[in-house]
């Protein structure tokens, strides 16, 4: 009997040893024997897993230049101690998950980040908490990559001295999903990114934009929440961007926008909800954008569209109790408004087809008055202003004559 047990154990050892060589596991723990993550990365072979146990590791500039999986067990903390980067990834298929990374360096010259990913493909960054850093997760010249379920936050309220939460530069096909970013400069920043897929993130209280698109074609962002950011969300110089089902709310200020569009072509904005922003949609130089089925409620200005925007189509949106529906700087109109619901519409529907019989003019006289004399904003919603607006709507003199919704809906569009 005893012999049998010994034999079994021996057999097990014989079979398991080569296995464990194939998938070696390097354990780092404050109790030792290995107490440094950098050391662990050095001795690990490509394909290994490094298991980091709970504790505080004061390390920075940890260079990962081979395919490794870094797993944090019970939220180990890597503290950069205010110096340089924390993790630098320069290899394909690296996975980092379950860490708390804090205190990177801060610099006006270098973009110190908690995790820098350079010239790599298929990197996975998951379930990390990144706290009090300059830049959060920084991807440069990478291919693919999955950034999921991370929290990035920082506390600097100045735009110039804070970095971006998730920063992508020259990246193809990244997936950014279910992250929470707050207190950074831009929550999520994209520059020269192709086909980004950004979904289910919450980006709030950042100093500048919740999401910032630059020169990034063909992406899609959906189901995100952008709340109380210094200037809202900006999508600039990009083509074919899909913006669907996002929530833009409480972005307040002189230059705060729910969604700022600048030089955008052939894109779609659908099923989004804009709630209590100073300007819900600001559009400058955009062409051929489809704005369809959005819910735009209680904003200062629902739409501010500059005259260099053309062939944009606003259809079947709900405009509900915005202080001003549409603002524009030109007497001509190159855009198309049709079949929207406007809560300020006071027309009638005699043939009962659900569409008002007289067109709705969304540019009010009062919006032109406050353009000339901003102080008169204090007269908003007063009876006198209402009478003036009414007279102007019946006989437009100062407001754009061709900007109207021919088929305003009588009921909210569900």
């Amino acid at each position: 009997m005893r012999n049998l047990i010994i034999h079994t154990v021996l057999l097990a050892i014989i079979f398991l040893v080569p296995l464990s060589v194939m998938y070696a596991q390097v354990v780092v723990s404050p109790e030792g024997p290995l107490t440094s993550i950098s050391e662990a990365v050095k001795i690990a072979e490509p394909g290994d897993t490094i298991e980091v146990h709970s504790g505080i590791y004061l390390e920075s500039d940890i260079l990962i230049d081979k395919k490794l999986t870094l797993t944090g067990i019970d939220n180990p903390v890597i503290d950069g101690n205010g110096e340089g980067f924390i993790l630098i990834i320069r290899a394909d298929s690296v996975t980092v998950s379950g860490f708390r990374l804090q205190k990177t360096g801060r610099s006006y010259i270098r973009d110190y980040a908690a995790i820098l990913i350079e010239r790599s493909a298929g990197v996975v960054i998951e379930d990390n908490l990144i706290d009090d850093v300059f830049f959060g997760i920084y991807l440069a010249e990478t291919e693919g990559g999955l950034i999921r379920n991370n929290t990035v936050r920082s506390y600097d309220r100045r735009e110039a001295s804070s970095g971006n939460g998730i920063h992508l530069w020259n990246v193809k096909n990244p997936i950014i999903t279910a992250n929470t970013v707050s207190g950074m400069r831009d929550g999520i920043y994209l520059e020269f990114v192709e086909n980004a897929r950004i979904s289910n993130n919450i980006s709030s209280e950042n100093n500048r934009y919740g999401l910032h698109y630059m020169f990034s074609d063909g992406g899609r962002y959906d189901n995100n929440t952008f709340r109380k950011n210094g200037a809202g969300v900006a999508v600039m110089y990009s083509d074919n961007v899909d913006m669907t089902n996002n929530l833009f709310e409480n972005n307040w200020g002189g230059s705060a926008y729910g969604l700022l569009l600048k030089d955008i072509r052939n894109s779609r904005i659908e099923y989004n909800r804009f709630y209590r922003n100073t300007v819900a949609i600001y559009s400058e130089g955009t062409t051929n954008v489809e704005i369809w089925r959005n819910h735009i409620e209680l904003n200062g200005w629902a739409v501010n569209i500059k005259s260099n925007s053309s062939r944009n189509r606003f259809t079947e949106n709900n405009f509900i109790e915005n202080s001003f529906d549409v603002r524009t700087d030109s007497p001509r109109n190159n855009n198309f408004f049709d079949g929207n619901y406007w809560s300020a519409y006071e027309g009638y529907d005699l043939n009962r087809d659900g569409t008002g019989d007289v067109p709705y003019r969304p540019v009010s006289l009062f919006s032109i008055i406050i353009e000339r004399q901003p102080e008169s904003i204090i007269l908003m919603r007063s009876m006198f202003i209402r009478l003036l607006d009414q007279a102007e709507r019946i006989l437009p003199v100062l407001t754009p004559k061709t900007l109207f919704d021919e088929n305003p809906k009588m009921q909210r569009i569900q």
């Binding site: 209680l298 202003i385 009921q411």
Partner: protein
């Protein structure tokens, strides 16, 4: 105190017997309910309701106040022959008719808001609109009292005066402010327009409505004075404070006239 409550109760009873107040409640009940039924959701209804409130409550309050002074002339003069303190009598009459009117608006609008669920959904906005309506009722009933006592024997003059005052405060005043803003457009006008609005109780109530529903637009305005006024609680506190002052001044004025008047 006992006498005061006694007068108030008597007033309530006679008002209920008149059924006037019940009709007034029903008007708001029907109005709010139909706004909710046909007008869509919460903010739309509350804004429409606040428009009605800002326009009609001042008119109804003032007309009602002055009408009461005229109609109950014999009753008041009879009471004055009794050993009753004039101050107590004045407060009894004022509270006796202004509180039912206030309650009529609040209950009439509150019930539909409650059964359509808006009260829970937009509780702070609903509370604001209802509270402002109540406040405006008190202010304008007391203004009606003042005009009634001032033009005690000349009813036509009294009524004419109330209607002109209402027209002025509700509509013309803002037109004059707008005109002045355009005439003096080259000067810094922020403080002027805030001060001008503070002098009109309807404008004060309107600013409070604006702070609730249009704060996002107000934040788009870049002037420093406005930003401080609207951005922090300064605007809310100043406007509410001025509104209270607007309640105190006419009631005190009315009391003064009432005390000294030779009936």
């Amino acid at each position: 105190m006992k006498l005061l409550t006694h007068i108030i109760k008597t007033e309530w009873k006679s008002l209920l017997r008149g059924k006037w107040v019940i009709g007034y409640t029903l008007i708001f009940l029907l109005l709010t309910d139909s706004l909710l039924r046909f007008g869509g959701g919460g903010p739309e209804t509350l804004l429409s309701l606040s428009n009605v409130m800002l326009l009609f409550i001042p008119l109804v309050g003032m007309i009602y106040g002055i009408l009461y002074i005229y109609q109950s002339r014999e009753f008041v003069e009879l009471l004055l022959t009794q050993p009753i303190d004039r101050k107590v009598l004045y407060w009894g009459l004022f509270l006796g008719i202004s509180t039912p009117l206030m309650a009529a608006f609040i209950i009439g609008s509150l019930l539909p808001l409650a059964w359509h669920g808006i009260l829970v959904l937009d509780s702070s906005s609903s509370a604001l609109v209802l509270g402002l309506g109540g406040m405006l009722t008190l202010i304008f009933v007391s203004l009606g009292f003042v005009f009634g006592l001032m033009f005690y024997d000349d009813r036509i003059k009294g009524f004419g005066f109330t209607i002109v005052i209402w027209l002025f405060l509700a509509i013309l005043y803002d037109g004059i402010v707008l005109l002045l803003v355009f005439v003096f457009g080259d000067y810094p006008l922020e403080q002027f327009v805030i001060a001008a609005s503070a002098l009109n109780p309807i404008d004060l109530a309107r600013i409070l409505v604006m702070l609730e529903f249009d704060i996002s637009a107000l934040m788009g305005y870049t002037g420093a004075v406005f930003n401080r006024f609207f951005g922090q609680s300064t605007g809310l506190i100043t406007a509410s404070g001025m509104l209270v002052l607007w309640l105190i001044t006419p009631t005190w004025l009315g009391l003064r006239i009432f005390k000294k008047k030779d009936f």
